[in-house]
């Protein structure tokens, strides 16, 4: 359904020199560095899969998505989506895929949500009946009805993302590309979006590629994960496979009343204490948080405890 073969995108970064004269000279010098944003990535995604495409910032996630959707042209390699070459038949493909960029809305900023939908309706040549069905259906799933007449710029981030998701579905595409759709959202909004995406995948059999920084997104949604770092694919498999590779490291920061006496403990990878403050890195798959809390309170009397969720980028960068 979606196939990438030896996909590579190389960006030329021109070296600019200091000062006005230098920058003018560098126009002609042609000195540049080549950087592979995406480097020989191959994968094949089947119908109905929900794929998490993850990696640290600058790993080449967005670049890949943009090549899949025809926005960027690969330097070399081949890609087909739904049997269509995205670069040659971009418009034809656009009619059959839905794209959401979490960082940037695709809606008309100053217009009410409904107006944006109407424009898209014309753009994708959607019939009236299908459009009415769309409004009803996505009001059920995403509650878009309550802010249909509000200008986009006045929406909350969560509402805007729901509107953006609905807009990406207006032409009922079988394939969805989602680039960080949960970025910056609070927990409630994230939940709504996740439930929605699950519904899209399970009930409507849509094929989804999702990039995210949120480990929970991946755990709850993705049946398969592709991990990339510095443009290269480093892991492709189920969530289980990812877990065995990187574990589930979490961080606990504890401040004690008096100087603590730390003990070695199964599951704790690292415990660093400076004064009364301890930073404990542990593996959630080996020791559960309540057990750990009980153990560390034996070290002294905790005044303050903070938990940090695993940061996927950091983990990946540390491991590879």
């Amino acid at each position: 359904m979606i196939e990438a073969h030896q996909l590579r995108k190389c960006f030329k970064i021109y070296k600019s020199k200091k000062g006005t004269l230098g920058s003018m000279l560098s126009l002609f010098s042609g000195e540049y560095e080549e950087k592979n944003a995406v480097d020989s990535i191959s994968f094949k995604i089947n119908e109905g899969e929900f794929v998490g495409y993850i990696g640290p910032n600058g790993a080449g996630k967005s670049t890949t998505i943009k090549m899949l959707s025809g926005i960027l042209h690969p330097t070399s390699g081949k890609v087909t989506v739904l049997g269509i070459d995205p670069q040659k038949h971009r418009k034809k493909l656009a009619q059959r895929i839905g794209i959401v960029f979490g960082q940037r809305t695709q809606l008309w900023w100053d217009l009410p949500v409904k107006d944006s939908f109407e424009i898209l309706k014309h753009m994708y040549k959607i019939e009236d009946r299908a459009y009415q069905k769309f409004l009803k259906h996505y009001d059920d799933l995403l509650d878009i009805g309550q802010f249909l007449h509000t200008p986009v710029r006045k929406l909350s981030l969560g509402q805007r993302m729901r509107a953006d998701l609905a807009a990406a579905m207006i032409h009922n595409p079988p394939v969805l590309f989602l680039d960080e759709p949960t970025i910056g959202l609070d927990i409630v909004a994230k939940h709504k979006i996740r439930d929605f995406l699950q519904e899209m995948n399970k009930a409507e059999k849509k094929t989804v590629i999702l990039t995210t920084h949120d480990m929970d997104d991946i755990e709850q949604l993705c049946s398969r994960v592709i991990v990339i770092n510095q443009g290269r694919k480093i892991l492709d498999g189920t969530l289980e496979k990812l877990r065995t590779h990187i574990g589930l490291p979490s961080i606990l920061t504890v401040t004690y009343e008096y100087l603590p006496k730390p003990n070695e403990l199964e599951g704790i990878e690292r415990a660093e204490c400076t004064g009364r403050k301890c930073t404990i890195v542990y593996d959630r798959s080996k020791i559960s948080s309540p057990v750990l809390l009980r153990e560390i309170s034996k070290w002294g009397t905790p005044l303050d405890i903070q938990m940090t969720e695993p940061d996927i980028e950091e983990v990946i960068q540390n491991i590879y």
Binding site: G58, I71, L72, Q106, L111, I119, Y124
Partner: protein
């Protein structure tokens, strides 16, 4: 076309969300235009005659060049500001639609405050035609003017498209626009025979602003042109539009986008 109207009306509606800003830009642009006009009148008054072109004839050249450019600035402000799409990576959002990005760019915005430029041009045109009406028959000029203006607008659009395409490599195009749009159109305000040979060469070939007004007017004002001079602007506009479009489609694959 229906989509275009839909999109344009949407852009005007979003413009109207900021009414004060809109009114202010319209008024301020009008004032600038008036000052420009007064300056021109002073210059024309002083010259009297340039290389065989009298004040009214130069007025016609000036008006056609000015209206052509303003028409383009009114219709395609987003193409003119194309570098912002490249620098901010906003071009992405045009490429995910099943419609040509050029149509989307055209329909994204109308710069109504540029209508002041068109009105100013029409005013000068009327004054000049009135001045000429003492000496010669104007019916042919008046009848052919719409064609000339459409070609002029097409040529300026093509030049702008060509310039915008450069942004795929250079990111910024503001400095190029001085060379490919502002300067040539300023030059086209006056008859081409006042320029040295190499400059004329440029205006007749790579930046074909001579065809916007000078060439057809040579014939229409009986300054030694042939009948086919009237067809040249149509031919040149079509050719240039075609070439620019090809260049644009070629350049699009070099689009870099930006990181998130």
């Amino acid at each position: 076309m229906k989509l275009y109207i839909k999109l344009v009306s949407a852009s005007i509606r979003s413009r109207m969300q900021y009414k004060m800003n809109f009114i202010f830009s319209m008024v301020s642009y009008g004032v600038i235009m008036m000052i420009d006009f007064v300056l021109l009148a002073a210059i024309l008054n002083r010259f009297g005659q340039i290389k065989g072109w009298n004040i009214y004839e130069v007025g016609i050249l000036y008006a056609i060049s000015s209206i052509s450019l303003s028409l383009y600035r009114t219709l395609a402000p987003e193409l003119h500001e194309f570098e912002k799409y490249i620098i901010e990576g906003e071009f992405d959002s045009l490429l995910i639609r099943p419609v040509s990005p050029l149509v989307l760019l055209l329909s994204k915005n109308l710069d109504l405050s540029r209508i002041g430029g068109i009105l100013q041009g029409i005013l000068i045109l009327c004054l000049s035609l009135y001045g000429l009406s003492q000496e010669q028959e104007l019916i042919y000029i008046a009848a052919y003017l719409p064609v000339i203006l459409v070609c002029g607008c097409a040529i300026s659009y093509s030049l702008a498209l060509f310039t915008a395409t450069l942004a795929f490599w250079t990111q910024r195009i503001k400095d190029f626009q001085t060379f490919t749009l502002y300067a040539p159109f300023n030059a086209a305000n006056y008859p081409m025979n006042i320029y040295p040979g190499w400059l004329k060469m440029i205006f007749f070939t790579v930046i074909p602003v001579a065809f916007i007004n000078y060439v057809p007017m040579l014939y229409l004002l009986q300054k030694g042109g042939s009948l086919y001079f009237l067809l040249l602007p149509i031919f040149v506009a079509a050719l240039f539009f075609y070439v620019s479009l090809k260049f644009w489609n070629y350049g699009i694959q070099f689009y870099h986008s930006t990181g998130t």
